[in-house]
Symmetry: D2
Subunit: 296 residues, 4 copies
Amino acid sequence: MEIGLIGLGRMGANMRDRLRADGHTVVGYDAAPGIGDVDSLAEMVARLPGPRTVWTMVPAGEITRGVIDELAGLLEEGDLLIEGGNSRFDDDDRHAEVLAARGVAYLDCGVSGGVWGRTEGYGLMVGGAESDVARAMPIFDSLRPAGPRENGFVHAGPTGAGHYAKMVHNGIEYGLMQAYAEGYELLAAESRIAAPDKVMTAWQSGTVVRSWLLELLVAALGEDPAFAAITDYVEDSGEGRWTIEEAIDHAVPTPVIAAALFARFSSRQDQSPAMKAVAALRQQFGGHHVHASSED
Amino acid sequence: MEIGLIGLGRMGANMRDRLRADGHTVVGYDAAPGIGDVDSLAEMVARLPGPRTVWTMVPAGEITRGVIDELAGLLEEGDLLIEGGNSRFDDDDRHAEVLAARGVAYLDCGVSGGVWGRTEGYGLMVGGAESDVARAMPIFDSLRPAGPRENGFVHAGPTGAGHYAKMVHNGIEYGLMQAYAEGYELLAAESRIAAPDKVMTAWQSGTVVRSWLLELLVAALGEDPAFAAITDYVEDSGEGRWTIEEAIDHAVPTPVIAAALFARFSSRQDQSPAMKAVAALRQQFGGHHVHASSED
Amino acid sequence: MEIGLIGLGRMGANMRDRLRADGHTVVGYDAAPGIGDVDSLAEMVARLPGPRTVWTMVPAGEITRGVIDELAGLLEEGDLLIEGGNSRFDDDDRHAEVLAARGVAYLDCGVSGGVWGRTEGYGLMVGGAESDVARAMPIFDSLRPAGPRENGFVHAGPTGAGHYAKMVHNGIEYGLMQAYAEGYELLAAESRIAAPDKVMTAWQSGTVVRSWLLELLVAALGEDPAFAAITDYVEDSGEGRWTIEEAIDHAVPTPVIAAALFARFSSRQDQSPAMKAVAALRQQFGGHHVHASSED
Amino acid sequence: MEIGLIGLGRMGANMRDRLRADGHTVVGYDAAPGIGDVDSLAEMVARLPGPRTVWTMVPAGEITRGVIDELAGLLEEGDLLIEGGNSRFDDDDRHAEVLAARGVAYLDCGVSGGVWGRTEGYGLMVGGAESDVARAMPIFDSLRPAGPRENGFVHAGPTGAGHYAKMVHNGIEYGLMQAYAEGYELLAAESRIAAPDKVMTAWQSGTVVRSWLLELLVAALGEDPAFAAITDYVEDSGEGRWTIEEAIDHAVPTPVIAAALFARFSSRQDQSPAMKAVAALRQQFGGHHVHASSED
């Protein structure tokens, strides 16, 4: 197939390579000059034969909305746009509506796999109409891992279902990472454990906790066995936050995912205003010592 | 009544003052020289008329066990020992047994109120036999706040019940403090809120969240409105930990008290090994930036 | 002062009584016929001398928005609307804008105190312009508890600050209630504790955990000492949810408030899909017994 | 090698099969008559050539302690006992001491893999002396999965290190399971998601959350796509509890593992006393409706 790919960052560039390696013709565009095959969205659209298929892979929110609005003015009836970035699933409703007004079909596609996707394939979760999914299947089949289609690809439901599934995937990921991380700290805290990294290495085979994330953690420990070179500062992307917001909206208790999110918030605080308040309170009722800020 | 009081630290000294102010004769002893009325436990026992009442108010654990063992060798049949420190409630079983072998009665008494107890009275939770409680009631009545006895004193049950009740009291206290502290941080984080301290001041009357702890927090904010002078380092005493251990033992879900305890653990970590592991993991799968430890 | 009061439910009717008892003239309106002093908003507006003060006290969201839109068409330049319901604080921006277009001033006022406010006074948190707050002060002074104004009333900041403060107040309230509740369950789980209600009764004076909520819990235990007559089904209002959403927006860790919210979600589930999944997983790897749904 | 194996339940019987398949001579014993190769521990010991190797695989706690005490009286200097059950790691100190008094060596071995271990191999975590580990290596090599030894086996440290590592492994497992379970419930709660089981099926390849536990969850969903046949009742074994106790002892924040444990506690409660207390409190201050227990 021929496909226009907008956004050639870490994810987009790898996806382009994987698609080309599988025989597709990719017309790549990036807002940064000199990276893409064309210099503008208009040029990209002009280079593609109709009915066109274009894939957006740019930062979620403002930028994705801007790109889709511009594309709505360039694409034609019968074209198909697949939004593969990390859009919030309710943004998909808006995107679909904007494009439908021009007769352009829309699919949302959650893409998992990170930097490993280029070689191993990407996990794909798609929302939209069955016929549009069928039409883009050659692309999905090239992006997903080898093996049975249903193990790396799902048509999750109507518009938004793909990004909703991806959002939940990422929420789970937060919980999984935090669980391993707490376990790592427990190993590191106990003097009987000679080498936490060796214990985690041994968990890769035969145990209940074996997983791809564990393999990555073992790889990281292999590079820096006690994480001496890095700090505990952890960013969070939107999807962990949205997961909790959806949990609240659906009244679903998600204590583990929320705890994982809050741990990241805490990791980025130099001083916690809340814990200052607790320290101050303890001093008030019990005369307990507080640490003066100059003691730091 | 006449009573021997062992341990004249912040709590013990205040209690001695309150008891004397109410007409009791207190023979105080402290391991630190020059603080007490006598120089040894033996001298204290000798000064008290039988059947004696003695009250221990020393650090929980090793020290309390040592003092009680020594007293077991000095006290006589018919004497009564009241352990008012922060003993773990199952230590009370041991204490009672050691003393019972000598014919000495035992009460455990959880004491709440901190530095304010001297003037306002202490909340008291007592475990042991009814007749022993009755015998020590003049002491309890002097220590507890004015007002109906049942609002500041309870005979909670047999041996250990007093310290169990105090342990739960402290567990609740952890949760309450953390709830206010999270609220404080939310106020401080929002630009619309001109002065978080003024909002909390206004909560002292009429609101659902009014409490003594809130008054203390307002007092603390009055001294240092943005907690600029202190750090977020928060100690925890044994009782918060024991509360979670008992929750586990009884299979009682205590997410709030546990979260409050863990927040204190986190507050004392300069770098979190767990969050380093999460940062390292994110880098592995997503190529996400980590903060080098030299960047700190 | 003269004031129009819209919404005469549990809160509104009590506030009307308190205002009248303090000498104000209240023109009350309720959508339910026969409750108010007038039969329509138009009639209420016609009855009030200009510049008018009206207070909305109706369910947050759709209904409040509808009432304010209707009032925007009835009120005149120089009038003042005070929204005292539980509006989300960012709704206040919208309300203020709608009214400003007509020259009508707007204050948002968070009101705490529940059914006790009529006699004890309400805690008030107000957002808006200083001059508008000054103008309505006679009303605020009558609604708030006796005592120093700053202990029961705060001008928290510009538009939205009042409802933001109230939202945080309610988030804290969730945490406080859950902390006491976990403590109650720990007392009830331990056989040494003869009567959990008596222990909590004794905490009302002298202890660190004394509070108004504790008094209410003791009152509830007085009516039904083991909560035998009620179930564990607990509703949540919007404000607990919004608190977590704001915590996420501000990247403030709020593990205690979130845990309290999730506990309410769980309390309303007959069967937890998540825990079914855990049960199924345990069976898969360990051959552990699951409870068939017919065993219930 | 020749080895005595005590305990032929689900785990022990499978391990015997795997060892025999790999050429070892196993003398099995079980307290239940007719299952083992011998009728008593004494007979088992008599059948084994010295220096003997015996492996205990019986329920942790009382039973394991009893068996080891009995074996201490039967084994001889130079023999080796490997405790492969789920002993608490500090029990290992006691076991080692009891046996050392008789000149019998001791290894503790955490065994993971559940019912799948017989065919796939078991993850093994061992504590004890290097020379004892070396001596038993043929057994460990047969039990662990094929592939590099260090990926399925670790000599984690001195006595207790094996069971400590296994305890942490299980704590992590709690967190992982709960993360997937929360994600499952979020998928099931959203109407856009046509089939949660299909989404999870698609996560098995290419995604960040792929793991063995996910495969098991997909298998479970394959048997019962909406878990209609089972209830949400989830047991917990000792190891999740011990993990939190150790976290407390080491002051390691473990919010995710604790939340997972508490979710299990909650799943087993028909009515939550804590949430009854919250419901009662809401009624007290707000006049909110409670559900009468007869309404259930």
